[in-house]
C-alpha cells in the first residue's frame, strides 16, 4: 500500500553480543581491514583529534546472514576514510552511524555492493554533523543481478550549531536484470543555515547511447558492458589503498557479464 512508505529513519543501534572497540589516538594514522568473521558484529570507533583512519570493510564471511553495526565518533580535525564492500552472504545488513563531533572533522565513505542470485543487502548510513566546519562525502554504488534485492537508507543530519558544514550523499544503482529490485531512501535533516548539502540517487541500467558509441568503435557487446560497468564503479574503487583488494573487486565487477 502506498502509505507504508513514510516511516521515520531509525538510528543505527548497537545491541548485539559481539562488541569491538577501535580507538585511534590523537595524531595517530591507522589502516584497518575488517573481513567480519562472526555473523553479528558491533564496532565502536573513536577517532581522536587530528587522527586519520582508513578502514576497509571487505566482507568475506560465508555465513548466510550477516550483520555489522559501526559507530564512528570523530574529534577535531579527525579524518576517516571508510570503504564498504559487500556482500558475500545471502543476506546482509550493514549500518554505519558517523558522528562528526568536533570542528574540522571529515569523513569519506566509498561503498560498493555487487549482488547476485537471491542475495539481499540492506545498507544504512547516517552522516551526523554536530560541529561547525565539518565535511562528509558518501558515494555508494550498487550493481544488481539475477533476483537480488537491495535497500539503501542514508541520512544527512545537520545540527543547529554545525555552520559551514558540507555534506554530500550519493547512491547510484545499476540494475542489470529484470527480476532484481532496488530501493533507495536518502534523507536530509538540516537545522543550520550556512551549509551546503546535496544528495542524489539513481536507479537505472546501462546507458544505451553509451553502449551504442562503444559498439560503433568496434567493441563487442560484452566488452562494451564491461567498460561501462568499470566506469560506473571507478569513483569508488579508485580510492581503495590496498591493491589486492582493489584487484579482487575489479575482477568481481568484470565477472558480472
Amino acid at each position: 500500500m502506498v502509505n507504508d512508505v513514510f516511516p521515520f529513519q531509525d538510528s543505527a543501534k548497537i545491541n548485539d553480543p559481539h562488541n569491538n572497540q577501535l580507538i585511534v589516538e590523537k595524531g595517530q594514522k591507522l589502516f584497518v581491514i575488517d573481513e567480519q568473521s562472526s555473523s553479528h558484529q558491533a564496532t565502536e570507533v573513536i577517532v581522536h583529534d587530528y587522527a586519520h583512519l582508513t578502514l576497509v570493510y571487505d566482507q568475506k564471511s560465508e555465513a548466510t546472514c550477516l550483520e555489522s553495526n559501526y559507530r564512528f565518533e570523530l574529534g577535531a580535525q579527525a579524518k576517516v576514510t571508510l570503504f564498504i564492500l559487500l556482500p558475500t552472504s545471502e543476506q546482509c545488513t550493514f549500518k554505519a552511524d558517523i558522528a562528526l563531533q568536533k570542528s574540522g572533522a571529515e569523513v569519506d565513505v566509498y561503498g560498493l555492493y555487487v549482488v547476485k542470485g537471491q542475495q539481499k543487502v540492506e545498507l544504512l548510513i547516517q552522516q551526523r554533523h554536530l560541529a561547525p566546519n565539518t565535511r562528509s562525502n558518501v558515494v555508494i554504488k550498487g550493481i544488481l543481478l539475477d533476483e537480488s534485492k537491495t535497500s539503501f537508507n542514508g541520512t544527512i543530519a545537520i545540527a543547529p550549531l554545525a555552520h559551514n558544514s558540507n555534506a554530500v550523499l550519493q547512491n547510484k544503482n545499476l540494475v542489470l536484470s529484470q527480476a532484481a529490485r532496488a530501493v533507495s531512501k536518502p534523507c536530509l535533516e538540516v537545522l543550520a543555515d550556512a551549509v551546503q548539502c546535496k544528495h542524489g540517487t539513481a536507479i537505472g541500467s546501462l546507458d544505451e547511447e553509451h553502449l551504442f558509441y562503444l559498439h560503433a568503435r568496434g567493441f563487442s557487446e560484452k566488452n562494451a558492458q564491461k567498460i561501462l560497468l568499470h566506469a560506473f564503479v571507478q569513483d569508488v574503487l579508485a580510492h581503495i589503498p590496498d591493491q589486492a583488494i582493489k584487484a579482487y573487486w575489479q575482477k568481481r565487477v568484470s565477472s558480472c557479464f
Partner: protein, 448 residues
C-alpha cells in the same frame, strides 16, 4: 448580513453525520457511504509520521457549518497586517472582505452565469459537489471515491464522512477548455474549504486547468481543513490542477490529492503552500497505462511557527511512462519545511523515465529543512534520478545584486523570486504577480 446558522455540536458521531447528509438531501447510498467512512475514521490511528499533530484535538471541532456561518468578523476587527497585505498584493477590493472572513456577498453572480452558459454549450459540467451528486447521480457515482477510498488514510476517511463543498467538473471528450476554471470559485473555494471534496473527470482528448486558492492570507475560524481531490484523466486528456494555499496560522491543513492517468494522458499538480500551521499534502499521480505522464511542481514557504510537510508521489504501473517532480522550499524564522516523496516503478513498468529535483533554501539558522524521498524500482530498464540540495542564499549573489543598487531586502526578494520562478511560471498571470509580491513582503519582514 444574514445571521441564521446551521451548526452541528462539537465532536463527531453517526447522528451528526446523518444530519449532514439529511441537510443536503442526499440519496441513501451516500448516507451509508458516510457512515461507513465514519467507522473507518474512528478505527484508524493517527499517523505516526509526518508533522506533529499532537495539538490537534479532533473532538473539539464543529464538523458542519453552513458557509454563511463563517462570516463572524467585522471589518474593524480584521488585523491591520492583513489589510496591508491585501493592499500590497493588489487584491481587488471586492474580494478583501470576503477573504477576511467578513460578510458581504461577492458580486460574482453575473460573471458566473455567463461562464455557466458558455460551458453548458460545450457539455462541460462545473458545479459544487453536492449539486453534482444531485443533478448527475449516475456519472457522479461512477467515479466518486474510485481514486481515494475511505480506508486510504484517517483523514480521507474523515473527509468521506463529513465532506461538504468542493467542485465537480466533467469535461466531455475532445473539449479543450482554454481559460483556467477559477473566477467565481476562487472566492467560493477559499471561504469554505473545511472538508471539500473535489472530483474532476476529463474524457478522452479533453483538457482542463483548474485553479483554486488565493495568495492572500485567508482567515479561517475552523482549525482543521481536510480536503480530498480526485482526478481522472482518460486517454489523451490533460488535467492541470493549481492550488495556492495561504491559510491563517491556526489551521491544520491535511489534504489527500490523487490522480489516475490513462493512456497518453498528462496530469500536472501545481501546488503552492504558503500558510497554515501544519500542512501535510502529497499530490500523487498513478500512471496506469502506457504513455501517461505526471508533472508535479510544488513550493512550500515555512515561516515562524509553521511546518510545511509536503511532497509528491508518482507510481509507474505501466511501461513507457514518465514523470518529473520539482519541489522547492524556503524555511525562515524558525519554520520547518519537509519534502516527503515516493517514486515507485512497479513490475512490468519498463522504459520509465523519472526525475525528482528538490531544492531547499534556508534563510537563517533557526529554521529547518528536511528531505525524505524514496526511490523504488522493480524493473531494470528504467532511468530514475533524484537530487536534492539544501543551501542558504549565496553571498556572492547577494553582493552582486547589491552592487547594482538593490538594498538587502530587495536583493533577497529578487533572488528568492528567481528561486521559485519555475513554479510561478506555471501560474495564471494574476496569481504570478501576487506570489512575487508576497515573496517581496516576506523578505522585507525576515531577518537578513
Amino acid at each position: 448580513m444574514n445571521s441564521y446558522v446551521v451548526k452541528t455540536p462539537k465532536g463527531l458521531n453517526s447522528a451528526i453525520v446523518t444530519q449532514i447528509s439529511e441537510q443536503k438531501n442526499e440519496p441513501g447510498w451516500m448516507t451509508d457511504f458516510r457512515l461507513r467512512a465514519l467507522e473507518i475514521f474512528e478505527k484508524k490511528p493517527m499517523p505516526t509520521w509526518g508533522a506533529d499533530l499532537s495539538e490537534l484535538n479532533i473532538h473539539d471541532l464543529h464538523y458542519y457549518l453552513k458557509p454563511i456561518e463563517k462570516l463572524e468578523r467585522s471589518w474593524e476587527n480584521v488585523p491591520d497586517s492583513i489589510k496591508t497585505t491585501f493592499e500590497r498584493l493588489g487584491i481587488p477590493q471586492a474580494e478583501r472582505s470576503y477573504l477576511a472572513g467578513v460578510g458581504a456577498q461577492y458580486e460574482s453572480e453575473v460573471v458566473y452565469k455567463s461562464l455557466k452558459s458558455f460551458w453548458a454549450q460545450k457539455g462541460v459540467l462545473f458545479l459544487d459537489t453536492s449539486s453534482g451528486l444531485r443533478e448527475y447521480p449516475e456519472l457522479f457515482k461512477k467515479y466518486f471515491s474510485t481514486v481515494i477510498p475511505p480506508h486510504d488514510n484517517k483523514f480521507a476517511a474523515l473527509n468521506s464522512a463529513v465532506w461538504s463543498g468542493g467542485s465537480f467538473v466533467y469535461v466531455p471528450a475532445s473539449v479543450q477548455i482554454d481559460m483556467p476554471l477559477q473566477a467565481y470559485f476562487r472566492i467560493n473555494a477559499v471561504s469554505m474549504g473545511q472538508f471539500e471534496r473535489t472530483l474532476i473527470i476529463a474524457e478522452p482528448g479533453s483538457s482542463v486547468h483548474y485553479v483554486e486558492g488565493c495568495s492572500a492570507p485567508v482567515y479561517a475560524s475552523n482549525s482543521l481543513h481536510s480536503a480530498v481531490v480526485e482526478l481522472i484523466a482518460h486517454e489523451n486528456s490533460k488535467i492541470k490542477y493549481t492550488t495556492i494555499q495561504n491559510w491563517s496560522t491556526n489551521v491544520y491543513n491535511l489534504v489527500t490529492k490523487r490522480a489516475l492517468a490513462y493512456r497518453n494522458a498528462t496530469v500536472s499538480w501545481i501546488d503552492g503552500n504558503f500558510g497554515s500551521k501544519v500542512t501535510m499534502k502529497y499530490p500523487a499521480v498513478i500512471l496506469k497505462e502506457p504513455g501517461a505522464k505526471a508533472e508535479i511542481m510544488s513550493i512550500a514557504v515555512a515561516g515562524k511557527g509553521q511546518h510545511q510537510d509536503a511532497g509528491a508521489k508518482v507510481i509507474h504501473l505501466a511501461p513507457n511512462t514518465s514523470s518529473t517532480i520539482v519541489a522547492k522550499s524556503i524555511s525562515k524564522e524558525g519554520g520547518r519545511s519537509s519534502y516527503r516523496g515516493l517514486l515507485k516503478v512497479a513490475k512490468g513498468a519498463q522504459k520509465v523515465h523519472a526525475r525528482v529535483q528538490c531544492d531547499a533554501l534556508m534563510m537563517d539558522s533557526h529554521s529547518r529543512s528536511d528531505t525524505y524521498p524514496t526511490v523504488e524500482s522493480a524493473e531494470n530498464a528504467v532511468d530514475l534520478g533524484h537530487e536534492a540540495s539544501v543551501s542558504k542564499l549565496d553571498d556572492e549573489h547577494l553582493f552582486y545584486a547589491m552592487s547594482r543598487g538593490l538594498n538587502g531586502a530587495q536583493a533577497r526578494a529578487m533572488i528568492v523570486n528567481g528561486f521559485i520562478e519555475p513554479f510561478v511560471n506555471q501560474l495564471p498571470m494574476e496569481y504570478a504577480v501576487e506570489i512575487n509580491r508576497l515573496i517581496t513582503m516576506e523578505m522585507e519582514g525576515s531577518i537578513g
